[in-house]
């Protein structure tokens, strides 16, 4: 049973550029949530996708956007990158309708903005 997968593993971008991160949920899961984890901090919720729509959003600017595809996989896009966007980006999947919404995390994508 494949767990949550994310790509790429590492990414280096320049300030002002745009980046796309990808996530495939755990088999059987239909909901994807994205989190940003700065070094030495707990993950911060960015947004959640279910049925190809953004269902919830955390306190992140519109530069952060996402998409969910019919196969439940998801993308996180960040425009106009800032140095402060350097972090580990985590994807978590879960199954709506099966409480308590246990979320399983992928290994993350380490984004470095220079």
């Amino acid at each position: 049973d494949a767990g949550v997968t994310q790509s790429p593993t590492h990414l280096i971008k320049t300030r002002g550029q745009q980046v796309t991160l990808r996530c495939s949920p755990k088999s059987g899961h239909d909901t994807v949530s994205w989190y940003q984890q700065a070094l030495g901090q707990g993950p911060q919720f960015i947004f959640q996708y279910y049925e190809e729509e953004e269902r919830q959003r955390g306190n992140f600017p519109d530069r952060f956007s996402g998409h969910q595809f019919p196969n439940y996989s998801s993308e996180l896009n960040v425009n106009a990158l800032l140095l402060g966007d350097s972090a580990l980006y985590l994807c978590a999947s879960s199954l709506v309708g099966r409480g308590p919404y246990e979320q399983y995390f992928g290994p993350g994508t380490r984004l470095t903005v220079t």
């Binding site: 949550v4 909901t31 949530s33 989190y35 030495g40 901090q41 707990g42 993950p43 911060q44 919720f45 959640q48 279910y50 269902r55 919830q56 955390g58 985590l90 978590a92 879960s94 709506v96 409480g99 308590p100 919404y101 246990e102 979320q103 399983y104 995390f105 992928g106 290994p107 993350g108």
Partner: protein, 113 residues
């Protein structure tokens, strides 16, 4: 009101000892409290979780104690092993709102042989 406060920031325990990590919350609407374990370079892994209608939950060497009136919950790791050395995060969510997780700041646990 959405915060979850975790302590201590770091913890050193001898092999075989008990590791205790504490968390406190303000929002009484939270109804799901998971603990995650994270190794360097890896994503958080779900360890154990509890609902507020239960005061204690045990899975192997890991136990969550929950005090609803005090709005506090804690993770106890019995017979701590060097392989338990990792960062531990408590979290809280409101299930009816889709399960957005609010994480604590993390506790770096080191178990000495």
């Amino acid at each position: 009101q959405q915060q979850v406060k975790q302590s201590p920031q770091s913890l050193i325990v001898q092999k075989g000892g008990i590791s205790i990590i504490n968390c406190a919350y303000e929002n009484t609407a939270f109804d799901y409290f998971p603990w995650y374990q994270q190794f360097p370079g890896k994503g958080p892994a779900l360890l154990i979780a509890i609902r507020p209608d239960v005061s204690e939950k045990k899975e192997g060497r890991f136990t969550i104690s929950f005090n609803k009136s005090a709005k506090q919950f804690s993770l106890h790791i019995m017979d701590s092993q060097p392989g338990d050395s990792a960062t531990y995060f408590c979290a809280a969510s409101i299930r009816s709102q889709g399960g957005k997780l609010i994480f604590g700041q993390g506790t770096e646990l080191s178990v000495k042989p």
